[in-house]
Amino acid sequence: MSYAFDFGWVAAYFPVILKGLWITVELTLVGAVAGVALGTACAWTRSLGPRALRPVVAAYVELIRNTPFLIQLFFIFFGLPALGLRLSELEAANLAMVVNLGAYSCEIIRAGIEATPRGQFEAGLSLGMSRFETFRHVVLIPAMQRIWPALSSQIVIVMLGSAAVSQIAAEDLTFAANFIQSRTFRAFETYFVSTLIYLALAILLRQVLRGLGWTLFPRRTAR
């Protein structure tokens, strides 16, 4: 192999990479927290909530799950201004990620809720808990515990999918890699470095989510 590697540019463009990394982390944090919150609310509506709202939530979930993330992003960023709503690229990126994760996590959490044995609801009510307390302690926490691996996977997928926001000039890590490549023409090195960073981020995120699961769900099944 006669290709001459050159990583000298890393020092010069380090601030660009750092900024891109920060934007990706921010998008992931906001997307994960708000997305899971939205997903929980939607899952509750679809399984235990008011019947009138269920078709609305179902329409939202099906729309988001059956269209590509990039199209959703372009619609929010390039399409909504025609309807009068102009968002900056970071606002649009955050919104797209929250909406996207909300739909997927709704289905994942709903699976957990619907796997709760009917008897648990009755047990909670018979212990004098209100419907809300029953939901929170008896239904939701065990449901989340059940589906936590699937939900963590989806969060990591959405984090990796955040690479698409580079298409609307949001300066995330992929944008940083593309930008550096267009200045140094070192495609192999730039994408190699950004791949390593994404890999590290994904592994870190998985560990964080796993740790979060251990702390939040004390009653784990015996191994």
């Binding site: 201004p81 102009r86 609307i168 000039a169 593309n178 930008f179 267009s182």
Partner: protein, 264 residues
């Protein structure tokens, strides 16, 4: 030494004489050749709208084709178009397959060494474009505006050298992203080439990009062989007349959506 031998020898000599051509004493007058032949042969592009492309009925159409027709009309001869690519347009000229190259040809030192250029006949530049209401007249005025540009393009590299951190540069992956961001109002101003601006204008959008100032100017010239002073003078004369009487403006308006810049 029989009759057959002498006959074949004679045939060979005649063939050889036919192949040897008398030196072309009047080589340096392509203009006279064109007039005598009654045809002007022009190399034009077929894959680069709006300068040259193929219409739905497979006829060539574009800025360069219209200019070629203008020249042929003024010279009083028929026009014969030859489609060429960027790679073979100059070799076609050098091997006398065409008389002129009208193919969004830019002038540079390497080409100057082998062919001659006429005066400029079409604008080809990168600049800052914005709707009429946005008032930017120079690089300094970009402060506080968001500037959309295609990542890695000539405009990106030039502008990035000239502006500081106070200008929000939004770099999109391709021309379509830049165009979309302009039309949706996500950026106030775009840095792009006049061909892209013409493409936007052709769609008759509500926001019309107007040139605010130039970044880099590389107008199009007509290419012709070296040592053709009569042809060069005549072509320049026709171009100057067309600029004066507005016919070149009309072609520019038709294909690029705006009239010629003053300093062409």
């Amino acid at each position: 030494m029989n009759r057959r031998y002498f006959l074949s020898l004679a045939a060979g000599l005649v063939a050889a004489a036919g192949l040897v051509q008398a030196p072309d004493l009047a080589r340096a007058d392509a203009l006279a050749d064109i007039t005598a032949r009654g045809t002007l042969r022009v190399a034009v592009p077929q894959d680069f709208p709006p300068f040259g492309s193929v219409g739905a009925d497979m006829t060539p159409q574009g800025y360069d084709i219209d200019v070629a027709q203008l020249l042929a009309d003024k010279l009083g001869v028929r026009l014969e178009l030859t489609p060429v690519t960027s790679a073979n347009r100059i070799p076609y000229l050098q091997t006398d397959k065409v008389d002129l190259v009208i193919s969004s040809l830019g002038k540079n030192a390497e080409r100057e060494a082998v062919i001659d250029f006429s005066d400029a006949y079409a604008p080809f530049y990168n600049g800052i474009f914005a709707p009429a209401e946005v008032a930017v007249a120079a690089i300094e005025d970009l402060k506080g505006h968001s500037v959309g540009v295609t990542r890695g393009s000539v405009e990106d590299l030039e502008i990035s050298k000239l502006v500081g951190d106070d200008v929000e540069m939004k770099r999109y992956e391709d021309n379509n992203g830049t165009i979309s961001s302009f039309l949706s109002g996500q950026v106030d101003v775009i840095a792009t080439g006049n061909v892209v601006a013409a493409a936007i204008l052709a769609r008759n959008p509500p926001k019309r990009p107007e040139l605010k100032f130039l970044i880099k100017n590389s107008p199009c010239y007509i290419g012709m062989n070296k040592e053709e002073p009569a042809l060069k003078a005549k072509v320049n004369e026709i171009i100057a007349a067309a600029k004066a009487d507005g016919s070149l403006d009309a072609i520019s308006e038709k294909w690029l959506g705006y009239t010629l810049p003053k300093d062409l």
